[in-house]
Amino acid sequence: MATVRIPTPLRKYTEGKEEVDIAGANVGQLLDNLDAKHGGIGERIRDPKGAVRRFVNIFVGDEDIRFLDGLETPVKDGDEVSIIPAIAGGL
């Protein structure tokens, strides 16, 4: 299991939890399993074609998956996966 860190706007899908433990051999599988367990969260992270939305970044540990193997990036037990969207507020 990897630990997925959930950004505040998406915690309504995880019953308010900031971290959830999810299985998956790679990031794509992990996101599939995340959506299966917490319905609705997947479409906030990926577009209808399955690609990570362009204002969202996913990190495995400290590494941006775009510089690894994208959704094919392997995930090991104990890895921390962070979902980081752009934050635009300033009011």
């Binding site: 950004p7 505040t8 706007p9 900031e18 906030r44 939305r53 362009r54 204002f55 970044n57 990190f59 400290d62 941006d64 775009r66 510089f67 962070s82 980081i84 969207p85 752009a86 934050i87 635009a88 507020g89 300033g90 009011l91």
Partner: protein
């Protein structure tokens, strides 16, 4: 001398301006077309009840001037249009025009498209820019120094602005005033750090707490982001090219250090 252009004198802009002044900034241009509202006062700490209804930019300039007579604070009461091709030119026209002056822009608005547009305009013009955002307990800030193409820009990290429906605004979901203070002050720190690396410039003076004056040059003896860094990788960034992500409810701070992204509109040809 460096002129710090602060776009948006709200929840981020107010603490950013205070941080810039505390750090020794001498020239600022404050861009905001809004008026002070009672609901602002909880986090927009440059304003008071007596200023309700007055121009934020003007009130912010007055407050800075009341704290330090040497600060030259100009104002531009204008709402910037993210679709304007002359976005940066509008700012440059309003900024002081001393040929020896360098600009550092701080994007403190609450408009996602404007953040990206200001960033793009600054990168195109080779002007350093600090982009920040805050909502709820979370915030982000990133300094981009286009004079250093080996470092990533904001577009390397976030390819496009989030649509409104997926990016809740502070007005809709709220913001913790202290969180805005942390992120705004951090933006000022980044701007000062980048300014300290501008050729032939500032080091404007640093306002040292002990002396109470502006008698200390920002030099290598001063604490800086690079000096505080622990790894060699970031030691040459002077605060630029890394995104700091704050989750202040849980006291988690992440430092993301991407590399320039292939396909980025600004870096694509370099990768």
């Amino acid at each position: 001398m460096t002129c710090f252009v602060v776009i948006g004198a709200g929840g981020l802009g107010c603490p950013a301006l205070m941080g810039l002044q505390a750090g020794g900034a001498r020239r600022v241009l404050i861009v905001d077309d809004d008026a002070v509202d009672l609901s602002n006062l909880q986090r927009q700490v440059l304003y008071s009840v007596a200023e309700l209804g007055a121009s934020k930019a003007q009130c912010a300039a007055w407050t800075l001037a009341s704290r330090d007579r040497e600060v030259e604070a100009r104002t531009l009461a204008r709402r910037l249009d993210p679709d304007s091709p002359t976005l940066l030119a509008e700012l440059l026209d309003a900024a002081p025009t001393d040929a020896s002056e360098e600009l550092v822009v701080l994007e403190c608005s609450d408009n996602p498209r404007l953040k990206f547009a200001v960033h793009d305009a600054c990168v195109a013009a080779s002007v350093p820019v600090v982009v920040g955002g805050v909502v709820g307990w979370r915030g982000q800030a990133m300094a981009v120094d286009p004079r250093r193409p080996e470092l990533p820009c904001y577009r390397c990290l976030f390819e496009e602005p989030p649509p409104r429906e997926l990016a809740p605004a502070c007005a809709a979901v709220g913001v913790i005033g202290a969180a805005a203070g942390v992120v705004g002050q951090w933006m000022a720190t980044l701007a000062l750090s980048v300014a300290s690396s501008l050729p032939g410039s500032p080091p404007d003076k640093v306002n040292t707490a002990s002396g109470g004056g502006f008698d200390h040059k920002l030099t290598s003896e001063q604490p800086s982001l690079s000096a505080e860094s622990t790894s060699g990788r970031e030691s040459s960034r002077a605060g630029a090219g890394m995104l700091i992500h704050f989750d202040l409810l849980n006291t988690r701070i992440q430092r993301l250090e991407p590399t320039p992204r292939k396909g980025c509109r600004h870096h694509g040809e370099l990768c």
